[in-house]
């Protein structure tokens, strides 16, 4: 048999193996894409309703006898007036048939308790309101919100429905009169956590994450780049530096919760830094991110062609000058990419932060590095573990916000790499 014949006969098999491999690859990509789409669409479908909430239209009478019985317009007086009663009276006018004390209590639970404060603020801003009537849209409580968002629940038997038959009648009356609408859920973007789902917001944890990551970046980036440059370019290669290198690589693989334990033991118990504070969270995450950036720095430095180093050294540059002037600038895209990826890992991290107390229920928006705060993934965890119905969609909405930030950061990483990669 001639060689040509042997080769021709084997060709079919060889090409077949290639197309089989291609098919596996395509299959893998398709299934991964499908799973991703399934996850994203579930989250989107579940979470999108958290961005809007139900509002109820009511004619509010700013009753002077409740707000300012003495007519002094004293700020303290206005602040501590019983706005709940104002809402109650307005609802009474809307539903004259409701008279029982218990029934009225149920009726007023239609309105989110946050509206009492909003009314108070409106009056503080504009004293003229006192004694006047005004049509306002008040935010509904989460129970009503859930019913409004899931109309099919109205058909459930009373025991499974969250609201009683009577309440449903009232709600239907409101709907029929066109006094129920969906509006943008501003509280979600402007507030921190709350026990009431309709009042809980993501801003607190976004700022918590921001402060934490800022500390992480400030602490880890310079140290890691300096360490990477030293180890890769300047340090002598001996057993000791090998030992350090192995340890850094191991550190990158250490489960993050271990760093949390370290933070608890050293930063909180030994150094007595404030609990739940972004500064401590940032320090813990910096420790976790350090090895990632060091490794990225070393890999990027290694990828710079040695001829550039030789050119500089051959001209009489010191090792340090060669690195700072020529090698490091060429490694910047890789280092930046590694840093951003490390930071997005830190953004998604929750375990170590649980241990240093960033898991607390915090209703105030953090204003500094030492205020108690929580972070996005922990906020999601907190909402997920809360039983009330309205938190389900909040959880999904939190995931959407977190994923959006992660995608933005990764896009930034790609942009930085393409922008600063020198192709000349």
């Amino acid at each position: 048999m001639s060689n040509t014949k042997i080769i021709r006969e084997s060709l079919k098999k060889r090409h077949l193996a290639e197309s089989r491999f291609k098919a596996y690859g395509i299959l893998g990509i398709i299934s991964a894409t499908l799973f991703l789409m399934a996850i994203l669409s579930t989250i989107y479908i579940e979470g999108k309703s958290a961005f809007k909430s139900t509002y109820i239209k009511i004619n509010i009478f700013y009753d002077p006898s409740i707000i300012d019985p003495e007519g002094t317009r004293d700020i303290e007086e206005i602040k501590f007036a019983n706005y709940r009663k104002i809402i109650k009276n307005s609802l009474k006018n809307y539903f004259p048939e409701v008279i029982g004390r218990e029934e009225l209590k149920n009726l007023i639970s239609f309105i989110s308790s946050s509206e009492e404060e909003n009314l108070m603020k409106a009056v503080l801003e504009n004293n003229e309101l006192i004694g006047s009537d005004k049509i306002v849209w008040l935010k509904a409580s989460s129970t009503i919100d859930v019913i409004n968002k899931n109309p099919e629940m109205k058909n459930l038997p009373e025991s499974n429905r969250l609201i009683s038959d009577q309440e449903l009648v009232w709600f239907n009356k409101l709907v029929l009169s066109g006094d129920v609408k969906f509006g943008l859920n501003k509280d979600f973007f402007l507030k921190a956590d709350s026990t009431e789902p309709e009042q809980a917001g993501i801003l607190g944890s976004i700022l918590g994450s921001f402060f934490t990551l800022l500390i992480t970046l400030i602490l880890s980036f310079p140290v890691a780049v300096a360490a990477g440059v030293f180890l890769e370019e300047l340090a002598p290669k001996n057993k000791f530096t090998d030992f350090i290198e192995i340890n850094i690589n191991n550190l990158a693989a250490v489960p993050s919760i271990i760093f949390g334990l370290l933070g608890l033991a050293i930063f909180l118990n030994l150094m007595h830094l404030p609990r739940s504070a972004p500064v401590v969270g940032g320090m813990v995450l910096a420790l976790m991110t350090l090895p990632t950036i060091i490794i990225a720095t070393r890999v990027s430095l290694k990828a710079v062609p040695p001829s550039i180093r030789e050119a500089a050294i051959g001209l009489g540059a010191t090792k340090f000058q060669a690195v700072i002037h020529h090698v490091l600038p060429l490694a910047v895209p890789g280092i930046a990419t590694g840093t951003i990826i490390g930071m997005s890992r830190a953004l998604g991290e929750s375990a170590p932060l649980l241990l240093i107390g960033m898991v607390a229920f915090i209703v105030d928006i953090p204003g500094s590095f030492v205020d108690s705060a929580t972070v996005l993934p922990v906020q999601i965890y907190l909402w997920k573990s809360t039983a009330a119905r309205g938190f389900v969609e909040l959880t999904a909405a939190g995931v959407i916000v977190l994923l959006t930030f992660l995608i933005l950061m990764n896009a930034l990483a790609i942009f930085v790499r393409n922008k600063f990669e020198k192709k000349w």
Binding site: S307, A311, L315, G316
Partner: protein, 253 residues
């Protein structure tokens, strides 16, 4: 009588356990071109890189013996290799301009050593260096373009200009034409001839024709040993050693 610029005495070089050079004793005359020839792996590049202590950057490399430049031991612990490399410039096998502008490439050496006092002075130095490297007329209108945008031969001349800008006493060239086409090679060879009036040049080359064309002295290396050294004419016309004869006639190598 010509003056000796570099004397090497009984140089042994080891890479880890492997001996790369043994007992090399070779004198380099001042303001002449010395070529180092020999088959791949014979140690000629290693020897060249001993002369400006470039081998220091290789951790496993160990050097024994003495190298004297103007009578001064360059492996003396008191001598700073940075100063040495400013005195002994180097041009590498593959053109390796910095990924910066043509101007910055040439200006880099003078800048780090602080050789000029003003930007005008630097400008003049860059221009004169480019002129000496025979590149000025080709690039004078685009000094701000990246050095890597030039052709291979131009890049290599840029590297020579970059070395010249520091005004070294010696220029080491490690197979400077191996990545270039014959025309670019011819230009570089002419340039070597031109600048050898002012600089001592040591060139490693694979091409025996090139060695014959550009050098005054030729040293033949084989398997880590210096087999023969002499005036280029003599080495190529009447080699004393059989191995040299075999190599230049193409029997080994």
């Amino acid at each position: 009588m010509e003056k000796t610029k570099i004397e090497s005495k009984k140089i042994n070089v080891y890479y880890g356990d492997k001996k790369a050079l043994s007992n090399i004793t070779l004198d380099i005359p001042e303001k002449k071109v010395t070529s180092l020839i020999g088959p791949s792996g014979c140690g000629k590049s290693t020897f060249l890189r001993c002369l400006n202590r470039m081998n220091d950057t290789i951790d496993i490399c160990r050097i024994e013996g003495k190298i004297l430049v103007d009578g001064e031991d360059i492996y003396d612990t008191k001598l700073d290799p940075v100063l040495l490399r400013a005195r002994i410039g180097m041009v590498f096998q593959k053109p390796n301009p910095f990924p910066k502008s043509i101007f910055d490439n040439v200006a880099y050496g003078p800048k780090i050593h602080g050789l000029t006092n003003s930007s005008d002075e630097l400008q003049l130095l860059v221009e004169s260096s480019l002129k000496k490297a025979g590149l000025y007329n080709e690039v004078k209108d685009r000094l701000n373009e990246p050095g890597t945008s030039l052709s291979g031969g131009q890049q290599q001349r840029l590297c020579i200009a970059r070395a010249i800008a520091v005004s070294p006493e010696v220029i080491l060239m490690d197979e400077p034409c191996s990545a270039l086409d014959p025309i670019a090679t011819a230009i570089i060879e002419e340039l070597i001839d031109e600048i050898s009036k002012n600089f001592t040049i040591v060139i490693v080359t694979h091409s025996m024709q090139q060695a014959a064309r550009v050098s005054n002295q030729t040293a033949f290396f084989h398997m880590g040993n210096l087999i023969e050294v002499g005036k280029t004419d003599q080495v190529f016309s009447t080699p004393k050693e059989k191995k040299t004869q075999d190599y230049i006639t193409g029997k080994i190598g």
